[in-house]
Every structure is written in C-alpha cells, then in structure tokens.
C-alpha cells in the first residue's frame, strides 16, 4: 500500500495538471493572441468562446496545487519556496487575467486597459509556468527534505527555452481552439497563427529534447540505455508524425482536427517529461515515495476523488456540449 498509493496519486495529480495545461492552455493562448485582433468586436467574439468555461478550467490549477499539498506535502513544501518568485508572479498575473474577463464587459473608456491586462496577464502567467516547468526539469537543491537553494535558481537559459516553448504551445492551443469555436476573420487568421505557433513549438520542443539528455545524465540514461531506447523511440517519432499531420490538416482547411492534434502533441510532450523525470517529483532527489502524505490521508482523499472526479468530468463535459457550436462574427453584443 505504501508502495502503490503514491503511484496512484502521482497519476491523479498528473492527470489534473495535464487537464489544467490543456484547458487553461487554450484560455491563456487566446490571451496571447489578443494583440493580433483588429477590432473590439473580434476581441469580444474571442472572449465569448471561453466565457462559460474559463472559471472551471482554472479550477484544475487549484486541484493540481491543492492535490500536491494533499498527496505529497513534502514536495509541495519544497517546490513552492523554490519557485517562490515565478509562482507568485503567476498568481498575480492570473488575478489580472481573471478579473479582466468580467471587467472588460462592463468597462467602456477603460476597456483598453483590461484588454491589455488580459494579454499581459496571460503572457506573464504562461512564462511563469514555463519557468517552473524548466526549473523542475533541471532540478531543485534540497537538503534535509527542505529547499536549500537560492531565490533565482530557476532563472536559467534552459528554463527560458522551456518558457518560450510553453508559450508557443499555449498559442497553438488557442489558435486551433479559435478555428474550432469561432467564425469569420478571427478563425481565418487563427489558421495562419496556428502554423507559426506549430513551427515554433516543434523547434523549441526539439531544442529541449536535445538539451535535456546532453545536460542531465539521469535523463540521457533514462532514454538511451537499453532496453529503454527500444521501448521509448515511438514517443518522439509519434510527436513528429502528429506535427506533420497537424500541418496537413491546417492546410486542408480542417476546423476541429488541428485542435485535438495539438492536444495530442501536448500529451506527447508531457509524457516525454514524465519519462525523463519519473519517479522523481522534485528532481533530482525526492521521489513520489519520499514526499507522500500518510497512507490514511491518501486513502481518505482517494475515496473522494474516485467518487467526485467522474461527476466533475460529467458536468464539465455537459457544459462543453451545452455551449457547443461556433460563435458567429460580431456576436459580442446584441
């Protein structure tokens, strides 16, 4: 029990984080694309495509952070102080972005400021998340199961590349979401944006994929030792094939497939990072077992999760189904 419970929980939190990255990813991606709009009515149309969902999407971030606290308090207690500055920056950026949703509806003369807040909040939150991601991959200095590094350990060129990669990825999700959920010029422009973003994602993902095994021996060992290499080679190959297919679908004028293909790319990238780091929750020293909460706590919470998660997923899916269809041009006001 003490062996497999932390594994189950790693799976639950991994799922919550993946869902967050996908769901808030396209939300944040829309914010990133905000400066490329031509008019207020285009911006209203864009926001309309996510207005009923953004709140629920962001809740996965609470489940990811809260879940880490619940299931792996030791990891939570190391990661949060280690990434103090990017985490707090992200939270403040999300404050701006979140209220901008509501405020820009009501504001008139000050609407341009909330448009700016929506864009800047999305960008800063995305970059912060990328720096945390990069910082985790490169490892955190730990002594006596507590954070023992400096306040800016996360600020490295490698983490910057990760941050840019995540930004391109969210941009890709946002652009393909618009192709699926909007009509008119917004959707047409998104097709071109998706191509740019897709190219950027593949370049940056490629750099990270080469950089990590070169710089970190444990990651090289994980991927290139036998028999691992024979089992793992399909992961990068699948990513390249999927990227190629996405490009093709973008060219072929498909509206829905590129979004789901982008989600697939995210999953493959995510899966690659899990392969690189597992079983470490705080590389290179603390594993899921080192940081787990007491089994009684994990079980108590797992019961609730197994009951509630299907219910949550059901009504979330219902909400997406209810608000299915494309948002027409100029459908900001009526």
């Amino acid at each position: 029990m003490e062996w497999y419970l932390p594994l189950i929980w790693a799976g639950v939190i991994g799922t919550a984080v993946a869902l967050y990255v996908i769901l808030d990813g396209f939300d944040l991606g829309l914010g990133l694309l905000f400066p490329f709009t031509r008019s207020e009515s285009e911006r209203d149309q864009i926001v309309r495509t996510i207005a009923p969902f953004w709140d629920g999407n962001e809740t996965w971030l609470v489940l990811g952070g809260g879940g880490l606290f619940v299931a792996f308090p030791w990891a939570y207690a190391v990661i949060m102080p280690a990434f103090y500055i990017p985490v707090i920056t992200m939270l403040l950026a999300l404050v701006f972005r979140g209220v901008a949703f509501e405020f820009r509806h009501i504001a008139k003369s000050s609407k341009k400021y909330w448009n700016f807040a929506f864009w800047a909040g999305s960008l800063v939150a995305t970059l912060s998340q990328g720096f945390v991601l990069g910082g985790l991959i490169q490892g955190v200095k730990v002594e006596n199961r507590a954070f023992a590094g400096g306040a800016f350990d996360w600020a490295t060129p490698f983490a910057l590349v990760c941050a840019l990669g995540l930004t391109a990825g969210y941009g890709l999700l946002g652009a393909t979401w618009l192709m699926m959920k909007a009509e008119g010029p917004v959707a047409e422009r998104a097709r071109g944006q998706a191509k740019v973003m897709l190219a950027a994602v593949m370049i940056l993902m490629g750099i990270v994929s080469l950089w990590t095994p070169l710089a970190f021996e444990r990651i090289a060992e994980r991927w290139f030792s036998t028999p691992n290499i024979f089992l793992l080679w399909p992961v990068p190959v699948a990513a390249v094939l999927l990227a190629w297919a996405t490009w093709h679908w973008l060219d072929a004028g498909r509206d829905v497939l590129p979004f789901f293909a982008s989600v697939g790319l995210f999953f493959l990238g995510y899966f690659g990072l899990v392969i690189s780091s597992f079983p470490y929750l705080v590389p290179p020293s603390l594993t899921v077992w080192d940081t787990a909460a007491h089994p009684s706590s994990q079980i108590f919470m797992l019961v609730g999760t197994l009951i509630m998660l299907p219910i949550i997923l059901t009504y979330t899916a219902y909400s997406y189904w209810l608000f299915r269809g494309k948002v027409p041009e100029g459908q900001g006001y009526h």
Partner: protein, 461 residues
C-alpha cells in the same frame, strides 16, 4: 533595518486572506439569495423576481471572479509562505482542502457558467437548479475551509509523531470541537452581510424613486431575513464563545482583556490593555459582566492572561478591539432588523426616509464585522498557527525576507487596483439597476447567449 521574515509572511498572508474573505462573505449569501429568487420566480411566475435575480447574478459574476482569483493565491501560499506548516499539518489539513476543491469549486464554476450564459439553451428548471447548485457549492466550500480552520484552532482526531501530525479519526478531524460553531457563525455572517447589501441597494432605489417594485421586494426580503438571522447570530456567537472558553481560554482572556484569573471578570466596554504592566488602563466596565456572560454566574471564574507566560499570550490589543467592533456591529444589525420589521408592521417601511438613508449607506457593515471576527479568532490563536502543535514562528518557508517584502508590495498594488476597479464596476451595475439588457433573456433564435455583464455594462455607460 532588519526585516523579520515571519512578520512579513504573516502580513502578506493577512493581507491576501482578508482581501479574499470579503468576496466569499458576499457570494455565499448572494448565491443563496439568487437561488431563492429563481425558485420564487418559478413558483409564482412573477417577473420582477426574475429581474431581481438576473440583476444580482451579474453582480455575483464580478464578485465571484474576484473571489476565485484571490482564492487561488491562497491555495499556493500555504506552500510559498508556510512550507513548514504544510509539512507538519499537511496529512490532516490537506484532504480537507482537497475535498473543498472536489465538492465545491468545480460545481460552482461550471454551474455559474450555465447560470450566466445558458439562459436560452437550457430549460427553466435547469436554470433554477443551476442557481441552487451554485448556492450549495458556495456553502460546501465554506464547510470544508471552516473545518480546516477549526482544526487549526481546536485540533482533534490526530496524533503527533516526530513533530508531524498524522490522522487517526477523520470524523473527529472534520467535526473537531469548534467546527460546528464556527461554521454556523460564518455562514450566518455571510447571509447577514449580503442582506445588508441587498437592503442598501433597495433603499437606494426607493430614495431615488426608481425601480420601486424591485426595491421594495429587496427591502422586504432583507429586513425579514435580518430580523431572524441577526438575533440568531447573537445566540450562535454566545455558544461559540463558550466553546472557545473551553478549548482556547487564553483567546477569551484576550477578548475580554482579563488578566487575573483568580478574580471574576469585568466586562470592559472600553479599556487600554497594557501588556507590559499586565493590567488595563482607563477601563470603563460592567463589574463582573464577563463572568456573567461566560460562566452565567456573577462570581464565576475563568482563566486570565497571566495564567500563561507572556510568550504564550496572543496580542491583546487587536483581539480586544476587533471583538468590540464585531459585537457592536452585531447589536446594530439586530436593531436594524427589528426596527425594520416594526416599521413594516406600521406600514412605514418604504416611507421612513432616515431609515432608508441609513440603510443605503450601511452596505459595508457586514464586511467589517466579518473581518473583525476573523481578526479576533486568528490573532487570538497566536502564538500558534496550529493550536498547541506548531508555533507561527516555526511554520515559515526558507524564503528571504526581501523577497517576501517585494511580493507583499506587489500584492498590495495589484489588489488595490483590482479591488478599486471591482467596487467601481459593481457600483456601476447597481446604478444601472434591474432593467434592460441586464435582466432580459436573449431573444429566441438569437444564437449563443451574450457575455454576462457586457450588455448591461454597455447600457450602463
């Protein structure tokens, strides 16, 4: 100057959590009010109930967004600012917060989306159900977070090994000794806070001779609720106080500025507690009043501050005065509720202008009472963060004081801007009133519904 990281971490958390609690205090009550209105509209078919419900739903959306974003901050600050706390209490507190996310947050967020945007896409019963589910979600959220907080005040159902708390009995953890009282007290406080806001808006409309039908309904509903809940709050508060006396007697001693436990306690209406001299200066008090309230006997004894060494005492000043502010507002609320009902009975509720004027200015008193109450209970728990288990000074993260100071400054700046804008926009929505696009359903066949507050906002400006 040497910066104290513990003090800065406390300041930062006090700031972010005080800012946050303002919104739940309002949205817990408001969601219940909206659900009530939707049900009334369904049952009676009278359209003004619908107009009022839709009007408050717009305001709810803005407040809820501010509550959500400021709440996410807190779920991360346990780690960024209080990582030792997370480790020591994580096994116990963690699941309670986890359950809050699973049972409340997703429910609120998703059904608020349907409530706001689903007007022309879902049948009426589902719209009403969504309103009820949002109200249930906000109350459920309060249930779990107050359970977690109460456990920090009156821990139970756990054991300590190597300085870390481990769960033993979940039932005892969730329903720890102070939880039922705190939950009832806070939930009722949230309903009272909202009632004063609704009353203020209704009074504002009547004084301005506009939206009179809606204004009268708001006033009647608010005054009726106040007349019942405000006296009830006095009773719940009294029971909560007795519970605190049993489990956290030093907090009570600080609330009453009672120093010497070998003598019966006076009720100090006002005083200058001198922590160095361990006595009160300039006290105006009711002799033995505190003994009467707390022990129900004139010569009853209860522990004084001097029964523990100074390093184990909470700060007396803030606890003492915050308690007086809270109780003072509570008594004012009872007076406002009972007097309102009396006016109603005499048929003068809508014509007594001074009462309406006072009510229209008094929207904020619930918020001050809630903040004071939390100041009492959180400051009164000091020097402990988890009572008897972990001291606040031992709970912090290995983060430099300068970084905490910088982020604190950022929080103050960002929250100042956001809060200022939020109040401004809510005031705009209120000024516009329950008319026009703010409360109408989209025309059938008009395509997907429009953004919640946008049309209303467009008209308002």
């Amino acid at each position: 100057m040497e910066l104290d990281p513990v003090m800065l971490a406390r300041l930062q958390f006090a700031f972010t959590i005080s800012f946050h609690i303002i919104f739940p205090s309002f949205t817990i009550g408001l969601s219940a009010y909206i659900a009530t209105l939707e049900v009334l509209w369904s049952a009676t078919g009278r359209d003004h109930f619908k107009r009022i419900a839709r009007f408050w739903t717009k305001i709810f959306a803005v407040s809820f967004a501010m509550g959500v974003v400021s709440g996410i901050v807190l779920s991360y600050q346990f780690g960024t600012n209080w990582s030792r706390f997370s480790v020591v209490t994580g096994n116990v507190i963690g699941p309670l917060i986890g359950y809050e996310v699973l049972t409340a947050f997703f429910l609120e967020a998703t059904f608020l989306g349907i409530l706001l945007f689903g007007g022309d896409r879902v049948p009426r019963w589902l719209h009403v159900t969504s309103a009820i589910l949002v109200a249930i979600g906000t109350a459920t959220s309060a249930f779990w977070i107050l359970s977690a907080n109460s456990w920090m005040q009156t821990p139970a159902g756990h054991e300590i090994r190597d300085g870390i708390a481990y769960p033993v009995d979940w039932w005892k953890i969730v329903f720890n000794p102070s939880f039922p009282y705190r939950f009832a007290h806070m939930l009722n406080a949230a309903y009272l806070t909202t009632a004063f806001c609704v009353l203020a808006v209704g009074a504002r409309y009547l004084l301005g001779n506009r939206h009179e039908e809606e204004g009268r309904t708001m006033i009647r509903m608010a005054v009726g609720l106040l007349a019942i809940l405000a006296p009830l709050q006095l009773f719940i508060g009294d029971q909560h106080g007795l519970n605190t006396l049993k489990y956290q007697p030093i907090k009570i001693a600080a609330m009453e500025a009672h120093w010497d436990g070998s003598e019966p306690g006076d009720f100090n209406i006002i005083a200058w507690p001198d922590e160095k001299e361990e006595r009160n200066r300039f006290a105006i008090s009711i002799p033995r009043g505190a003994s009467l309230i707390l022990t129900h006997k004139l010569d009853g004894l209860f522990p004084g501050l001097k029964s523990v060494p100074p390093q184990d005492r909470p700060p007396v000043w803030s606890v003492f005065y915050a308690f007086r502010v809270m109780v003072g507002i509570g008594l004012l609320m009872i007076a406002a509720g009972l007097f309102g009902v009396w006016l109603w009975w005499r048929g003068r509720l809508f014509t007594t202008r001074w009462y309406l004027k006072a009510a229209s200015w008094g929207w904020w008193i619930g918020f001050v009472a809630v903040l004071s109450g939390w100041l009492v209970t959180e400051s009164g728990r000091q020097p402990w963060v988890a009572y008897g288990i972990l001291r606040t000074a031992d709970a912090t993260s290995p983060v430099l004081a300068i970084n905490i100071a910088q982020t604190l400054a950022l929080f103050v700046l960002v929250y100042g801007v956001v809060f200022g804008a939020g109040i401004y926009y809510i005031n705009r929505l209120i000024e516009h009133g329950p008319v026009g696009a703010a409360v109408e359903d989209p025309e059938p066949g008009a395509g997907p519904p429009i953004g919640a507050a946008e049309a209303a906002g467009r008209e308002a400006l």
